[in-house]
Symmetry: C2
Subunit: 183 residues, 2 copies
């Protein structure tokens, strides 16, 4: 009978990714539990979103670890990062829009850490001569978020295949839309 909070969070994430205004009642149904039980585990919608935020941060950190950002060419690290983060892209896209509601209030410090790690990767690429230096690491990081949200949205709306997620994002982020001279 014990409810698995992890499973509840996954179900909530899956639902809220699709319908960000879903009711606590809908979330409970999606998780296969009653609203009362949902409330026993997460005291209110706010707590639920915070828990989802913590989950998203944890998955991000895990993806960052898995991608081994310090190893090899920075562009390869970016490739690994996008690939590793893909399963969490939907959740992150939800949090990305939801976080803007929290503006003004205290932000979860976890995001700053993640921002820093990703920014450091781009900076490493710049220092190593791989990446151009006229685009700031902060912008490249923000752009990566935006492209992941767009990619998640495309997959979710059926306009793109999940298998193309990594390729679409990485190729555009690193290479851009212009044809390159043969190297």
């Amino acid at each position: 009978m014990a409810v698995d909070p992890e499973h509840v969070l996954r179900a909530a994430a899956a639902l809220l990714t699709r319908k960000s205004t879903a009711t606590m009642d809908e979330v409970a149904k999606a998780a296969g539990i009653s609203r009362a039980t949902l409330h026993r585990h997460f005291a209110g919608r706010d707590a639920l979103v915070r828990a989802l935020e913590a989950l998203g941060i944890a998955e991000c950190e895990a993806a960052l670890d898995e991608a081994r950002l310090d190893e090899g060419p920075a562009s390869d690290a970016v490739r690994r990062l996008v690939g590793a983060i893909e399963p969490a892209a939907g959740l992150l896209a939800f949090l990305y829009t939801e976080n803007q509601l929290f503006e003004g209030e205290e932000q979860n410090a976890g995001w700053a850490t993640i921002d820093d790690r990703i920014s450091a990767l781009f900076r490493r690429g710049q220092l190593g001569g791989e990446f151009r230096i006229d685009l700031t690491p902060a912008w490249l990081t923000e752009a990566l978020y935006g492209l992941m949200a767009s990619g998640a949205w495309m997959v979710h709306s059926g306009k793109g295949a999940p298998k193309d997620f990594q390729h679409m994002i990485v190729e555009l982020l690193l290479g851009g839309a212009l044809r390159r001279e043969e190297s």
Copy 2:
């Protein structure tokens, strides 16, 4: 005494861009009118958002016209487009997230027209040999939206300057993060 609906829409757009959950009361205050009057002009929050959607579409169309997408190199057209659309980026970013609430219901057909015009631009660039062909026009279009949302977010949060908006987006979208060999 006559209220200018256009001015009300502008104020609503400016407010909702910053706080997407603003109340009808807050919108009315922001527009300098009473809630009753706001209600007389826009029958409910839904109607207001629809009107904002129409405004956003109109501004997009205007930017598309102003950018003369058919003239000259496609990359220059993209540059002009981003520059022309910058003033509306905040509103578009709001609608971009708000539209997901309407999923399932009928979408405003105006977006499809805009998608088509932008996609056509990217396709033209591909056929002309300017743009790489392994990224679909649909994805490039979606990516442009995502980057504009990220750019608007960066400017809004103070992490980036408005004057860099066009440069950041265009350079990343067209050129990517990798250093190019000297051409």
